[in-house]
Amino acid sequence: MLILTRRVGESIVVGDDIVLTVFEVRGDAVRIGIEAPRSVKVNRKEIYEEIQRSNAQAVSSSDDAVDALRGALGTPADGAGPSAAGGDADPAGPRR
């Protein structure tokens, strides 16, 4: 890891188009300004990690629980209703 010392008002350039600027240091908190193209995703690391965890939990959703959820929506669980395994992904479907 590259570690640099910067003072308030000083910046770091990453690549050609990303600039990090130290705006304020107060106690153990540092305010950092980030200039980057909108296509570059900038996230607080803890939020990104939270989303990783949430995604990992999401894929472990059980089939039984998913079926129960479908039932709670008033979806026909069998019979005339379309199969859960069906490939029809038209959200317009029967909704009007």
Binding site: S54, A65, A89, D90, P91, G93
Partner: protein
């Protein structure tokens, strides 16, 4: 808004996307006002994540299949890993006020052009029972219907919940 369809448009810059059901969004340049699309965009059968889903960097290709007849729940199944499946939902059924800010540059990875329609779906987690079902409103899945590309977009509004209770909202 009174429409029953789900489309909305977004503007560049300080745009805001609004929709009763918030599943359809149109990318438009300039200063156009938020407006409803005439129809519900159709989900493609297959999608490819243009940027990886956090935590699933090796999974790019998914099939899309409806789980109900109402256009609410869908399964995204990995084309690569059998059994790897996300359940996603059109948010409007559960979160009628959910209208996140979207900007064309946020979804530039999708390769969308002005006027393209994108769909917004939220990832559902339901582990024990339906009462604990939650939806991730902070990082929805954005799908460019015409191109079959997708992206999990972390929205700038950090106040949006990562685990919003699903059914409490449905009443």
């Amino acid at each position: 808004m009174k429409h029953s369809t789900v489309g909305v448009s977004i503007e560049r810059g300080t745009s805001e996307a609004r929709s009763d059901l918030a599943t359809g969004v149109s990318i438009e340049r300039g200063t156009s006002l938020v407006s409803a699309l005439p129809r519900t965009p159709t989900l493609p059968d297959q999608i490819t994540f243009a940027t990886p889903i956090p935590g699933f960097e090796d999974e790019r290709d998914f099939t899309v299949s409806a789980l109900d007849a109402h256009g609410v729940l869908y399964a995204l199944r990995s084309a690569k890993t059998p059994g790897l499946r996300f359940v996603v939902a059109a948010p409007g059924r559960f979160f009628p006020d959910y209208a996140p800010l979207l900007d064309a540059s946020d979804v530039s990875a999708l390769g969308v052009a002005d006027g393209d329609e994108v769909l917004l779906l939220v990832i559902v987690t339901v582990t024990n029972g339906i009462t604990d079902a939650t939806a991730n409103l902070l990082a929805p899945i954005v799908i460019a219907a015409d191109r079959g590309t997708a992206q999990q977009l972390v929205l700038a509004d950090a106040d949006l919940p990562l685990r919003a209770p699903l059914l409490r909202q449905a009443g």
